[in-house]
Amino acid sequence: MLYREALNRAIDEVMAIDETVVVLGEDVGRYGGSYRVTEGLVAKYGEARLIDTPIAELSIVGNAIGMAMAGLRPVAEIMTANFALLAFDQIINHMPKYRYMSAGKITLPMVVRFPQGVSRQLAAQHSESYEQMLCAVPGLRVLAAGDVNYAYHALKAAMLSDDPVVFIEHELLYTKKGEVDFDAEVDPFKARVVKAGDDITIVSYLKMVDDVMAAVPEIEKKLGKQCEVIDLCSLNPVDYDTLEASVKKTGSIVVVEEDHKTGGYGAQIVSWAAEKMFYSLDEPPLRIAGEDVPIPYNRTLELAAIPTPESIAARIVAWAEGNGA
């Protein structure tokens, strides 16, 4: 099953059991979604539940909030993270705050979904990542689907949750293939140990998990050590228990992220490691992130602006050798 099919299946299943679920966004209905995530759903559930909106992101999220207040369970799709910025007033000033400001009298059972990240040469206004901003706002759950099975289970859980969830996808993952275990019980807030290992903990999320996995054979061969790769899955809250167990075992932590390094999301993980795991660490933490530049169009420059399997392997090997890991 493809990643986008897993997302489609999740939406389909929840829509089938809960008539209050509506999906809204640009081209989500008749067109089937820019990345085909909602393909076929309008035929099943009709245009009142798959709402084609104008290009009006603030209203897409703003309206979804109102729908949620009134008892619906909306899933708002934004075409890409950069466009979500137009809705950030609603995502930050409204979505996470109504419940708190109303002393719990208002709840917003809603999901805002969008893809983010560097795809292929979409340039500076279509390639960014905003998890670091979203995770800095109390009151939002932020999930990042880097895996097909997780995408299915986590989106279902997000749709069934009574709290507002920002569900982050990645543009390059929609055609990723993977198995879905439909019977499994998946806690969307639990990190996923993608590969176990005793020597180096590598923490990542979204598409960078795949890039880390692609780098692992080279790292293990060069260093003669084993990597443990963890997909965070939930970016807020963070499953620190899984991280702690791994760091205690390996004595190290590397964070790999696609967003820009300054103010980037991984700083939170490294900060936690420095505060809480200091005496378990055998060497300083390492953060591998995107450069502090807008994403360029040219392919060579684009790849130079973000971590790649090659650069991840080279950085980790150099770090490990420099630190005697």
């Binding site: 290009i55 009006a56 530049v293 169009y297 040219n298 420059l301």
Partner: protein, 319 residues
């Protein structure tokens, strides 16, 4: 319109069409990547509007190759940008959606729908402040008129009587969504009526577009304040190369193609200005040669050096 100008507009339309066809071919061949939004079908508007708004500043969208060239950008430099090369107008950093040339008063190339409209309002304020009379033209599609930035801009521009020409290039589709499904009417000029004088033109007729934009700019130069012009157009291709374009009927597209702006202009050159087959084919061949040159230039141009990745993030580098 004199013969020389008619020929110039025709030539730039043919050049634009040929350029877009070459861009499509080289996208398929993998020389161009990312999002590529072709202007095929809309050249009549793009060229005539640029020629008419000769002086003054222009802001537009990601579907801007033909406008950029009509504005005076070298086809070579535009094609090299599409190829992601150092010799491109944006040094390979921007690509298809981000063509900028302040020397031509051409400010892109914005890939956030409606995002350039408030910028154009600011530019119009600055021009008024600076005592310049030529005004600013901002081009956007029908889809952008449903966003907040659009309405905010109408309000501010009219409240401040800014020298700004709003131009809605209405091709009736926001990717796959027909405008009448997400707006209460087809003509978006209605939205501007409470704020300013509005004009509607057939965007498939370059001469009409030219005359309307000239008239609007003249009024703006006389201190009239903002004007809204809507041009009904038709894109023959999908929204971008990623769009399978399965939401429109063949008949609908054929009706559009029956009004092809280039064919209309060619017929006019023949009937009104007495051009014959030879004169027409000379122009066509010249356009084809210019596009061939542009492609050859782009193909052999240099890749940007990785060391230049952080160029132009700031004026002054620190740390």
């Amino acid at each position: 319109m004199n013969k020389l100008l008619a020929e110039e507009i025709y030539y730039d339309m043919v050049l634009g069409r040929q350029f877009e066809l070459a861009a499509k071919e080289h996208y398929m061949a993998g020389d161009i990547a990312g999002f590529l939004h072709l202007d095929i079908g809309q050249e009549g508007f793009s060229v005539a509007a640029m020629k008419a708004f000769e002086k003054g500043d222009v802001f537009t969208t990601y579907r801007e190759h033909v406008m950029a060239i009509a504005r005076g950008m070298e086809p070579k430099a535009v094609m090299a940008e599409l190829f992601g090369k150092e010799e491109g107008v944006s040094r390979g950093r921007g690509g298809s959606m981000h063509l900028f040339e302040p020397a031509l008063f051409f400010y892109g190339g914005d890939a956030i729908v409606g995002g350039q409209i408030p910028n154009a309002v600011g530019c119009a304020y600055a021009r008024k402040f600076q005592g310049s009379e030529d005004g600013v033209m901002v081009v956007f599609g029908d889809g952008a008129t449903n966003g907040g930035a659009f309405f905010e801009s109408l309000n501010i521009a009219s409240a401040q009587k800014l020298p700004l020409l709003f131009v809605c290039e209405n091709n009736r589709y926001a990717i796959g969504t027909e405008i009448t499904r997400v707006a209460p009417f087809e003509r978006q000029a209605k939205k501007a009526e409470p704020y300013m004088v509005t004009m509607e033109v057939d965007g498939m007729d370059a001469v009409t577009v030219y005359e309307a934009v000239r008239e609007a700019q003249t009024l703006i130069q006389q201190g009239h304040g903002p004007i809204f012009l809507e041009a009904m157009t038709c894109r023959y291709e999908g929204h971008s190369m990623s769009d399978p374009d399965i939401y429109r009927s063949k008949e609908e597209l054929n009706i559009c193609k029956g009004k092809d702006a280039i064919e209309q202009m060619e017929a006019r050159l023949r009937s009104k200005y007495g051009l014959g087959d030879e004169a027409i084919s000379v122009m066509r061949e010249r356009a084809e040669a210019a596009v061939d040159d542009a492609v050859a230039f782009a193909a052999s141009a240099q890749e940007p050096a990785v060391e230049t990745l952080a160029d132009n993030v700031f004026v002054e580098r620190r740390g």
